[in-house]
């Protein structure tokens, strides 16, 4: 028997079909797989099943578009300690921390076994958010700076604890969990499909199209439903428009953080017509209400395509002019170049995805490596930069904006035929495992679902790209001036609620 089963993105398999390995073999298999750069951990999670802790690990192979799924069953609540995946490969650290926090799973050699979200049903009730075990260095030369959980601007909460030598950051530790809403549990306790769709829209409200597409693709596949072309068409346009809008907003925020007022104002205002287009299309500036499983509440019409084409025309010339000015301004570039550097090796070992990975030459882009829907047709080319600094991540945003404009112009007029009668969405298949990956503007989103013997949702597991990437922020700012922290942080632009769930 094979040690794992290969499935494709948006694939489903019988839960029984996932090989169950002994823990030691399970560890060896998965940590062995990620030693190759083409493989990375898409998701690793556990749940109690028949009084055992069932672990499922999904390793995505980025060269042949397959996902290796394997599992193991260990006794929950035992005093036994287990060797950790993390000791072999750091990219598993956050997933094992969740296992430890939620189920009390003990590891013998996990190097960074810190709390993650402080859920209400955590194993250790003595672990409280006000008493996080921060790493400390005893020295008369050093001082600590604590920032948050509430920050100066209108952003989500998280606590940042710096250990500094003068102005220089020696170490940063990021404590999250403040935004924890118990959303994975709510997916199970809310039984209406519309409720679950609205929950998917709220996982990260700045990445609505990415997360909702992952949810609806997963749900439709669990139900054995083949989405007609118009659904994939709308979802792809929504994901790409969201990328355009959020990257434009990201450039504005980067300008804000270096005190470049003109760039901040112009990029900021250029985002407005993009999100207003979402409102013209679906009545909501952030695309809530647009993506639904099995139907399309708001068709993308010919007149919308014409409208979008006009909008791109106006956007592009303004954007180019502003970018050229910003991009040739030595005082702006000086703040971006060689700031917040993360090397390719560190990004690889931490399992970085999305912009954070692509800025270091690490190829992680679901659109090209595990394409779904329309991405199969227009096969995008990933944009890769190599310096791993704020500049690389800024330039990726610019290049992806230019590229997305090109792709969208290619596809928006090829509107699939209108569908008048749709096949109904049936009940999900029983005892099935499904996985769905999408490339949101931040990076890889992964949703996994498992149904019970009646086809009811039994487990729903969400991974926002921020789960992988938060530790890269902490590593990137080492040896930087503390005053460069805001710009470094913004260049990653990670989600708090997507991480805290």
């Amino acid at each position: 028997m094979s040690q794992y089963i290969n499935i494709a993105n948006n694939g489903t398999i019988a839960l029984q079909a996932i090989p169950v390995l002994k823990y030691d073999d399970f560890l060896e298999l998965n940590t062995g797989l990620v030693r190759k750069e083409v493989n990375h951990c898409a998701h690793y999670f556990g749940f109690t099943h028949n009084e055992k802790l069932k672990l499922i690990c999904c390793i995505a192979n980025d060269s042949n578009a397959s996902i290796c799924v394997s599992s193991s069953e260990i006794s929950a609540r035992s005093a036994q300690t287990y060797p950790s995946f993390t000791a072999n490969h750091l990219s598993f650290h956050v997933f094992e921390r969740v296992l430890h926090e939620n189920f009390g799973l003990k590891f013998s050699d996990h190097p960074w076994l810190k709390p993650v979200r402080y859920p209400s049903d955590r194993a250790d009730k003595n672990s409280v958010i006000g008493n996080y075990p921060f790493y400390q260095i005893e020295s008369e030369e050093l001082h600590e700076v604590g920032v948050g959980p509430i920050h100066a601007g209108i952003i989500e909460p998280g606590h940042f604890r710096f250990i500094c030598n003068g102005e220089q950051i020696l170490h940063l530790e990021i404590q999250l969990g403040y935004q924890h809403r118990g959303i994975e549990q709510l997916f199970l306790s809310k039984h209406k499909l519309l409720q679950r769709t609205l929950l998917a829209e709220s996982i990260a409200g700045d990445n609505v199209a990415g997360h909702t597409t992952a949810f609806v693709n997963l749900w439709e596949n669990l139900c054995g439903y083949t989405a007609p072309p118009d659904l994939h068409f709308s979802r792809t346009i929504a994901i790409e428009l969201e990328r355009l809008a959020m990257h434009t907003g990201g450039l504005s925020a980067i300008c804000t953080d270096i005190g470049y007022q003109l760039g901040s104002a112009v990029f900021g205002r250029l985002r407005t017509p993009l999100i207003n287009f979402f409102q013209e299309w679906c009545g909501n500036r952030l695309a809530k209400g647009l993506i639904r499983p099995g139907y399309n509440p708001f068709d993308f019409t010919k007149s919308l395509a014409v409208r979008l084409e006009e909008l791109f025309q106006e956007y592009e010339s303004d954007f180019d002019q502003m970018w050229k000015e910003f991009h040739t301004l030595p005082s702006a570039l000086a703040r971006l170049e060689k700031t917040g550097v993360i090397s390719h090796d560190v990004a690889l070992s931490l399992g970085a995805v999305g912009i954070s990975a692509r800025g270091t030459g690490l190829m992680r882009d679901i659109r090209t490596t595990h394409p779904h829907g329309l991405y199969n047709e227009f096969s995008p080319i990933s944009i890769i930069k190599h310096h791993g600094d704020v500049y690389s991540r800024t330039k990726i945003r610019h290049d992806e904006i230019v590229q997305t404009l090109y792709y969208l112009r290619k596809i928006i007029h090829k509107i699939p035929p209108e569908i008048t009668t749709r096949a109904p969405l049936l009940h999900p298949q029983p005892e099935t495992f499904g996985i769905s990956l999408t490339e949101g503007w931040r990076g890889e989103i992964c949703h996994c679902a498992i149904t019970d013997e009646k086809g009811e949702l039994y487990q729903y597991r969400i991974k926002d790209p921020s789960m992988h990437n938060w530790l890269t922020v902490a590593m990137a700012v080492r040896n930087n001036e503390i005053s460069d922290f805001p710009i470094s942080n913004k260049s990653f632009d990670l989600s708090y609620c997507g991480h805290d769930l």
Partner: protein, 250 residues
Amino acid sequence: MIGNIKILIRQGKQYIPDPTKAEVPGVFRGVPEITHDKVDENALIDFCPTGAIRSNPLTLDLGRCAFCGECARAFPNKIKFSKDYRMATNDRKGLIIHEGALKAITPDPALVRKEIAGFFKGSLKLRQVSAGGDNSNELELNACGNVNFDMSRFGIEFVASPRHADGIVITGPITENMSKPLELCYDAIPDPKVIILAGTDAISGGLFDDSPAVNRTFLDRHPVDLYVPGNPIHPLTFINGILDLIKKRA
């Protein structure tokens, strides 16, 4: 320098001339109307994902509504969303829509505290706290201050420190893990101070209200001065809501 000036000239004036009279483009789900059309009420109530629609009498609570618009799709003759974005009020009951003609929602002048009209008429500085918000309301609150909506022209601004603030704008259902930082931030704001709830999650908890990870007791202890519905709020809803609040006093 010349490049900068060229950009400034090309961009020209980007602000919305009068945000109190602006029209929103395309389809927008603002204040809804419930007609007297006869429908299966139980089906309608059961249909709503957030439990915003209740019976006896039939009502729709905008403080619970996720503005998904699905009810208007399924029962198009019964529920109709208008494009009226003015729907912020200081009266929680004012967010509950009854059957009948479309009615505007505005703050009730009689309920506005004296000190609000007295102190904040020309200037209101706010501290924002996201307590489990999904970053959609936060993006829209940021947008209130961009060059298009330019809320600061009315003296309304977000500030970094609670010590400099006249009030607090809460987004999100208020998670257990944020309940204490929220309380500390509120305590740090000098009196008199206002509380504004922005978005469905903040007003009622939305889909999260029964989550064990949520703790809304803060709202049992402190009075709320303005409810701004939306999922997320539209910047025009927020700006008009605050203007109505600080300018109105019977």
